[in-house]
């Protein structure tokens, strides 16, 4: 998805993709091999990037030449995703219709995001999109004890899943979700592992959660 932009902007900009996949490389491999990226494509099974404030995907973080973050985690699409223009098929069930219509309403502003990225690559520190270190810290998410503890539970769950201890893993996935209820990555990765039975196991669905939390909150509006 990012290879085209990387081809345009490299070597002035490197892109590193990180797959948040508790199942490990097997889940990400088909996508990565199809994209055949020239850039580093990494796997983050334990969601280490959550420690930086990543709670949904796709999320971008800008880092300058000195290793300083100049924009903290924020929604990052390289182009308008297909779901924004999806038409409801005539044969769609009411539930399918609701899901498609709701997904079309998600906040995605790929054009503005990519324009800002190009501006940074062109102008460097003079770009108006570069934030000061203090502003980067201010804009990053708070990390209360509950959310830090959720990260430990998620790491345990991912490790236990890899060891075949799925019953124990599910307990820790649930605890991570309880302690960090606004993290979509903790929920959706655990649901992917559970498969079609995930509503019975976790007691909710993506559609139910988006409706409850507000479609406008799924991807916060870009503050460029």
């Amino acid at each position: 998805m990012w290879q085209e932009l990387r081809t345009e902007l490299y070597p002035r900009l490197e892109i590193v993709t990180v797959a948040l996949e508790a199942r490990g490389s097997s889940a990400a491999r088909p996508w990565i091999e199809k994209a055949n990226p020239a850039h580093p494509a990494l796997i983050d099974g334990a969601h280490v990037l959550a420690a930086l404030g990543v709670i949904n995907v796709p999320t971008g973080i800008w880092v300058d030449e000195a290793g300083t973050i100049v924009r903290p985690p924020e929604t990052a699409y390289p182009r308008q995703p297909a779901f924004k223009d999806r038409v409801v098929p005539a044969e769609a069930t009411p539930l399918q219709r609701e899901a498609i219509e709701l997904t079309r309403r998600l906040n995605v502003d790929a054009d503005r995001y990519v324009a800002a990225l190009r501006d940074w690559v062109e102008r460097g520190v003079a770009s108006r999109y570069v934030l000061s270190p203090d502003e980067v810290v201010r804009r990053s998410r708070p990390r209360p004890l509950a959310e830090a503890t959720a990260a430990a539970h998620f790491a345990l769950a991912q490790h236990l899943h890899g060891a075949g201890e799925d019953a124990l893993a599910t307990e820790h996935f649930k605890e991570a979700q309880r302690l960090h209820p606004t993290s979509w990555t903790y929920r959706r990765d655990a649901w992917a592992i559970a498969g079609p039975d995930h509503p019975a196991i976790y007691g909710t669905t993506w559609l139910d959660d988006v409706k409850r939390e507000g479609v406008e909150n799924y991807y916060p509006r870009l503050e460029l």
Partner: protein
């Protein structure tokens, strides 16, 4: 950050967390926090967790312990990108520190 024992060596703690045992305490980059409760051979995870402000979760049924990130402030304590190491598809390890010298966009994504 997973551990298989409640007491670990200083080298193991540093490998997993990045925090090294030094005379000043536990240190990472330029920061140190006071810590007197361990030696190179044995550091109690609970003691280290308390000193670092990290939550420690025990899963006794599997003999596992997990540390979460430091809590109480912002997810980004500073604007310096931590030197995270992650594997690629083939298991090769990639250090974020190797990106120094070039603007970088890090993108988190998922297949689900």
């Amino acid at each position: 950050m997973i551990f298989h024992a409640a007491r670990v060596s200083a080298a193991e703690l540093e490998r997993v967390t990045g925090w090294a045992l030094k005379p000043e305490g536990l240190c990472r980059d330029e920061r140190c926090v006071p810590f007197t409760g361990g030696s190179d051979d044995a550091i109690g995870l609970a003691d280290a967790a308390r000193a670092l402000g990290m939550p420690l979760v025990e899963e006794s049924r599997a003999g596992l312990w997990a540390l979460g990130p430091r809590s109480g402030g912002k997810a980004l304590e500073t604007a310096t990108l931590p030197d995270i190491t992650l594997p690629d598809l083939d298991g090769g390890l990639f250090r974020f520190a190797s990106l120094r010298g070039r603007k970088t966009l890090i993108v988190a994504w998922a297949s689900w």
